[in-house]
C-alpha cells in the first residue's frame, strides 16, 4: 500500500489521539472501531477502547436511541482510559452528531456523512435546524464528506445493489482515518478476507471503499495535515489486543489446563456477559463443556453439579442473573464446592441499563444471600486483568473448596487494551487433589491449613456419602440441627474465607506510600484513577492509590495503609458501596466519590475531586 504523501501535505507527530466513530446501530461502528484499534495495536501503540452502544439491536434508523459509538485512545506513551475528550469524531448521521458532539474538543476534527443530513434525517434526530449550516459547529474543523455518494462511486464496477454498497461506507470513513493517522491497511485487508471468505465480492467492496476513503484524503485539498503517533514503549514481550470478556474466557481455559480438570460453564444469555459463553463454546478442543441453560438458576445449579463431579465449574452472568443465582450460591457455600460466579455488572436496578457500565453489585456479591454466607469476592481492574483474575478465582475456589464471585463490568467486558501474553510455562499450577482413600474418610474433615473439606467425587469407590443444604454436623457432614454445632459451622465457613487473607498480596499503594490522600478503588475505575494520580503527583501532590482486586477478604494490611493518609477517597460507579465497607470495617472516614451515569469516570473528574479534597 502506498503511504507516501503528496509533497504539499504536512505530517505532525503527536503523543496521543482519541477517535470516536458514531453512527446508527446498523452502520457498523463497532467493527470500524475494532479495526482501527487492531491496526493501532499492531503498530505498537498503547491504547484503550470504549464501545458504547444501545440495548436495542436496531432502534429505528437515524433516531437518537439508535446511536452506537466506539472510542479508541491510542498513544506513544501509557494509556489508562479511552480518553476524556475526542480529537476526531466521525458522525454518520445527525443523530450521532447530536449525541456525541459535546465530547469533541474545541477545534477537533469532525467528519460527517453529508449525504445523511436531509430534511428527514434531521427530523429523525429531532434537529430543528441543520447543524451543518447553522454555525453551531463553528468551533470544530468540520469536514462534510459525501460518504454515501463517494462509496457508491468507488464500488460502481462491482455490480452490487445500493444497500450492499451503502453498507461499505463505514470502511470509507475508516480509510479516511487510516490516512489521517498514517496507518497501513493490510491488517484490515486480512480481516476482511477472513470475514468474507465465502463472499469475496463483499471483501473486495469493503477494501475498495477503504482505499477510496484513504485516496480521498490524499487527493482533496481539505485535508492538509496527517498525524504520526509513534509506537509506545511497552514492556518487552508478545502482545495482543484483548477485551475483558475474552480475557475471562482465556483465563478459565488456562486455569482448567493448569488444574488438569474439565472446564464446565453453565450460562444463560445476558448482556454484557454473553460473549464469555460465545468464546468458551468455541474452545471444545480443550475439553471445555459449555451448557446454555434454560435459565439463570439452572446455569448456576448445573455448575454446582459439575463441581460436585470434579470439574472447574463456572457460571457467568450480569446483575439481574446474579440475583436469581443467590439461593444456589448459598448451596455451594453449604456444600463447600468450588465454583466461580462471574458477574459482569451493568446499570440497574432491574433491567436498568443493559449495555452500560456500573459497579453497584459489590454489596450484592458480598452480602446478597440469606443468612451468614460469606464468599471470596474478586474484581478485575482492566480488560487484560480479567485473565489473571479468572485464574486467581479458580485457584482460590479449588484450594479452599468455596464458591468465588468475580466481578467485572460492561466497561471492562467490551473495552480492549494491548495485553502482554503470558508464557504458559510461567503460569502456576493449580493443584487438585481428589479424595480417594476410604480409610478415615469424612466429608467435612478439613485441611487444618485451608479449612477446605475433601473433594470426594461420585464414582470414587468407598467414598459414598451424602451432602446437601441442610446444616451439617462438623466433620461427619450428617444432618444436624444442634445449636452449638450450627454456630461452629457458621464460624468455620467464615474463618475459611477470612483465612484467604493470608494467601493474597498485601495492599501496596502506588504513588506516595503516605501522605495527604489515599485513593482506594476497585474494578474498572483503575484506568481513570491511575491517570488522575499521575497528573496530580506531577503537580507535587502527596497522593497514593490502592486498587483492590480482592474485596473479600480484603488485604490483611489494608487497615494500616488507610491510617497513613490524612484523607481517604473512594471513587466508585455506585452510591458508595466500597466506602461503606471500609467505614464499617476500619472506622475510617472514607469519602465517597460517586458517579452513577452508566459511563466510566473521566480522568478530569477524578483529578478535580482529588484537588478539591486537597484544598
Amino acid at each position: 500500500m502506498a503511504t507516501t504523501l503528496a509533497p504539499t501535505k504536512k505530517r505532525e507527530t503527536l503523543d496521543q489521539a482519541v477517535i470516536r466513530f458514531c453512527g446508527d446501530s446498523g452502520d457498523g461502528m463497532q467493527i470500524t472501531g475494532s479495526q482501527f484499534t487492531n491496526t493501532a495495536a499492531l503498530y505498537g501503540n498503547d491504547l484503550a477502547t470504549f464501545p458504547d452502544f444501545p440495548a436495542e439491536i436496531r432502534a429505528p434508523a437515524g433516531t437518537l436511541p439508535g446511536v452506537s459509538g466506539f472510542q479508541v485512545n491510542f498513544s506513544s506513551s501509557d494509556v489508562y482510559t479511552p480518553g476524556d475528550a475526542v480529537d476526531v469524531l466521525v458522525a454518520m448521521n445527525p443523530a450521532a452528531l447530536k449525541t456525541n458532539i459535546k465530547d469533541l474538543r474545541t477545534n477537533g476534527i469532525l467528519i460527517v456523512n453529508a449525504d445523511d443530513f436531509g430534511e428527514v434525517d434531521l427530523k429523525k434526530a429531532q434537529c430543528k435546524t441543520n447543524p451543518l449550516e447553522d454555525h453551531s459547529l463553528d468551533g470544530y474543523r468540520l469536514f462534510k464528506v459525501e460518504l454515501t455518494k463517494l462509496t457508491r462511486a468507488a464500488l460502481k464496477e462491482l455490480g452490487l445493489d445500493a444497500k450492499s454498497m451503502d453498507r461499505c461506507k463505514n470502511f470509507f470513513a475508516l480509510g479516511m482515518c487510516y490516512w489521517l493517522y498514517n496507518r497501513p491497511m493490510d491488517g484490515t485487508h486480512r480481516w476482511l478476507d477472513d470475514k468474507f471468505k465465502s463472499k469475496p465480492t463483499l471483501a473486495e467492496a469493503n477494501k475498495l471503499a477503504m482505499k477510496a476513503g484513504y485516496a480521498y484524503c490524499e487527493a482533496t485539498e481539505a485535508f492538509q495535515t496527517s498525524y504520526e503517533i509513534p509506537p509506545a514503549k511497552l514492556e518487552a514481550g508478545t502482545y495482543r489486543n484483548i477485551s475483558g470478556n475474552t480475557a475471562l474466557a482465556l483465563g478459565f481455559v488456562a486455569a482448567s489446563q493448569k488444574a488438569g480438570i474439565t472446564l464446565f460453564q453453565g450460562s444463560y444469555p445476558i448482556t454484557p456477559a454473553s460473549d464469555i459463553l460465545h468464546e468458551l463454546s468455541m474452545f471444545k478442543s480443550f475439553g471445555v463443556v459449555t451448557f446454555q441453560a434454560e435459565d439463570e438458576i439452572a446455569a448456576v445449579a448445573s455448575a454446582i453439579g459439575a463441581a460436585y463431579g470434579g470439574a472447574l465449574a463456572i457460571t457467568t452472568t450480569s446483575g439481574p442473573g446474579m440475583a436469581l443465582k443467590m439461593e444456589a450460591i448459598g448451596l455451594a457455600i453449604a456444600t463447600e464446592l468450588p465454583l466461580v460466579i462471574c458477574d459482569i455488572q451493568r446499570g440497574g436496578p432491574s433491567t436498568g441499563l443493559p449495555t452500560k457500565t456500573e459497579q453497584a453489585d459489590l454489596l450484592q456479591a458480598l452480602y446478597g444471600r440469606n443468612s451468614e454466607a460469606p464468599v471470596p469476592v474478586l474484581a478485575a481492574a482492566t480488560p487484560g486483568d480479567c485473565f489473571w483474575m479468572a485464574f486467581e478465582a479458580s485457584r482460590i475456589a479449588i484450594k479452599y473448596m468455596v464458591p468465588v464471585i468475580l466481578l467485572s463490568d460492561g466497561y471492562l467486558a467490551n473495552g480492549a487494551e494491548p495485553w502482554k501474553i503470558p508464557s504458559v510455562e510461567d503460569l502456576p499450577e493449580i493443584p487438585v487433589k481428589f479424595a480417594t482413600d476410604p480409610q478415615g474418610f469424612q466429608p467435612y474433615k478439613r485441611d487444618p491449613q485451608t479449612l477446605a473439606r475433601p473433594w470426594a467425587i461420585p464414582g470414587t469407590p468407598g467414598l459414598e456419602h451424602r451432602i446437601g443444604g441442610i446444616e451439617k454436623q462438623d466433620v461427619t457432614g450428617n444432618i444436624n440441627y444442634e445449636p452449638l454445632n450450627h454456630e461452629t459451622m457458621v464460624r468455620i465457613r467464615a474463618a475459611k474465607v477470612e483465612g484467604i487473607a493470608q494467601d493474597i498480596p498485601e495492599a501496596i499503594p502506588v504513588g506516595d506510600a503516605e501522605g495527604d490522600l489515599l485513593i482506594v478503588g476497585w474494578g474498572s475505575t483503575y484506568g481513570p484513577i491511575t491517570a488522575a494520580l499521575r497528573a496530580v503527583r506531577a503537580k507535587g501532590r502527596k497522593v497514593g492509590h490502592v486498587h483492590l482486586r480482592h474485596l473479600n477478604p480484603l488485604p490483611r494490611n489494608l487497615g494500616d495503609v488507610l491510617k497513613r493518609y490524612k484523607k481517604v477517597v473512594v471513587p466508585e460507579m455506585n452510591m458508595g458501596q466500597l466506602s461503606m465497607v471500609l467505614r464499617a470495617k476500619y472506622l475510617v472516614d472514607a469519602i465517597g466519590f460517586n458517579k452513577i451515569q452508566g459511563q466510566p469516570f473521566k480522568v478530569a473528574e477524578v483529578e478535580a475531586k482529588i484537588e478539591e479534597l486537597l484544598k
Binding site: K284, A306, A328, I467
Partner: protein
C-alpha cells in the same frame, strides 16, 4: 468390570441414618423398592448418585448408601445436568415430588426431558405439600381444601405424565407406592432406559392428604380403577378382566368385552409408538368418568442422551482439530512483539 463387581444386597444400599419420614408414609415403600432393585442392576455402588430437591421425597438421598446430593427446591434436574454433562458414566437418579418437580422446578423438569438427559426421575406424587405442612399442590384436584385454600383451590391440576409427554420425554411410566411388585418391575424398566426415565409414583401422605389415591389403589377397587398396561398386550382391566379400551375416532372408549366386542377391537399397547400423542391420550384417560388410571410404561422410545451428544461433540472436535494448545490459544489472532 462385571467380573469384579461385588455381589450387593439390599443392605448395601441402606445408610446408618435414621429415616425421618412420618410413620405410615408411602415414601418407605418407595425407598424399600429402590433399595431392593439397585443390587440387581449390575452397577458398582460408587457409580450411583441420587440427587434431590426439597420436600419430603427429597430426603431420599440420605437413606441411600450411594453418592447423594440433597440440593435446593426444584433444582435437582439442573444440578444433575451439570453432573451428567461432565460424568456421563454415572447412574443418576432424581427423587422429587409434585411441588418440587412441577411447581418450583417445572422449568428444569421440562427442559431436562426435552434434552433427554440420562437420568431416572422418581416423582413422588401425593397431591399435597407435606414438608411445609399441608398446602395444595399443582397436582391437587380442583376444590382441594388445604391450609392455604380453606375455601377450596380453583386452579386446574397438572397430569404429570401429560406434561412429561408434552416435553417429549422418552420414557414415561407410573406406579403406586403400595403396588410393590408393580413398582419394582417399573423401576427395573426405568433403570434399563437410556434417556430420561420419568416415573410418577402415586404416594400416600397419611398426615396431610391421607387416602389421596384410595379411590384407585384400595385392594377391592384397584382392579377396576387402574389398568396395568403392558407393551404388546391389549388394554384390558377389571377384576374379571372383562373391560377394555378401544379407539373411537380421536378418543378412547371403555368397552365391556362380550356381545360382539372382542380383544381384537381393543388397543394393543405400543410403548414404542413414535407419536407421543398416543401416550398422551393414555396419560389423561382418567380425566373422564368411568376410565381407569393407567399404570406401567406409557412410552419408551430410544433417543440419544444429552450428555452423550455433548461429549461426542467435544471428542469429534478434538479428533478433527487435535487437542487444544494453550499457547496457540493465547496467541491467537493478531499479535506483535515489543522489543
Amino acid at each position: 468390570m462385571t467380573a469384579t463387581l461385588p455381589v450387593y444386597t439390599k443392605k448395601d444400599f441402606q445408610t446408618d441414618q435414621e429415616v425421618r419420614w412420618c410413620p405410615g408414609c408411602g415414601d418407605y415403600a418407595i425407598l424399600s423398592a429402590v433399595q431392593s432393585i439397585f443390587p440387581e442392576l449390575g452397577i458398582p455402588r460408587e457409580k450411583f448418585a441420587v440427587v434431590s430437591g426439597i420436600g419430603c421425597s427429597s430426603r431420599f438421598p440420605y437413606y441411600m448408601n450411594t453418592f447423594g446430593f440433597h440440593t435446593i427446591h426444584g433444582r435437582a434436574p439442573a444440578i444433575a445436568t451439570g453432573l451428567k454433562a461432565t460424568h456421563p458414566d454415572l447412574e443418576v437418579w432424581i427423587a422429587t415430588g409434585d411441588g418440587d418437580a412441577l411447581s418450583i422446578g417445572g422449568n428444569h423438569t421440562i427442559h431436562m426431558l426435552r434434552r433427554n438427559l440420562g437420568v431416572k426421575v422418581l416423582l413422588f406424587n401425593n397431591k399435597i405439600y407435606g414438608l411445609t405442612k399441608g398446602q395444595y399442590s399443582p397436582t391437587s384436584e380442583v376444590g382441594k381444601k388445604a391450609k392455604s385454600t380453606p375455601y377450596g383451590s380453583v386452579d386446574r391440576p397438572f397430569y404429570p405424565l401429560s406434561l412429561a409427554l408434552g416435553a417429549e420425554a422418552t420414557f414415561v411410566a407410573r406406579s403406586v407406592d403400595v403396588f410393590q411388585a408393580h413398582l419394582k418391575a417399573t423401576l427395573r424398566k426405568a433403570a434399563a432406559h437410556q434417556g430420561s426415565a420419568f416415573l410418577e409414583i402415586l404416594q400416600n401422605c397419611n398426615i396431610f392428604n391421607d387416602g389421596a389415591w384410595e379411590a384407585i389403589a384400595e385392594k377391592d377397587v384397584r382392579d377396576d380403577r387402574t389398568i396395568a398396561i403392558e407393551h404388546g398386550q391389549p388394554l384390558i382391566f377389571g377384576k374379571n378382566k372383562d373391560k377394555g379400551i378401544r379407539m373411537n375416532g380421536l378418543n378412547l372408549e371403555v368397552v365391556v368385552l362380550g356381545n360382539g366386542v372382542t380383544e381384537k377391537d381393543l388397543i394393543v399397547h405400543d410403548e414404542r409408538h413414535p407419536n407421543p400423542a398416543y401416550a398422551f391420550l393414555l396419560s389423561r384417560m382418567d380425566s373422564q368418568p368411568g376410565f381407569p388410571t393407567p399404570i406401567g410404561v406409557l412410552r419408551a422410545v430410544d433417543a440419544p442422551r444429552y450428555e452423550d451428544l455433548m461429549s461426542e461433540q467435544v471428542s469429534d472436535i478434538i479428533a478433527k482439530k487435535g487437542k487444544g494448545d494453550l499457547t496457540k490459544l493465547l496467541r491467537a489472532g493478531d499479535i506483535w512483539e515489543v522489543k
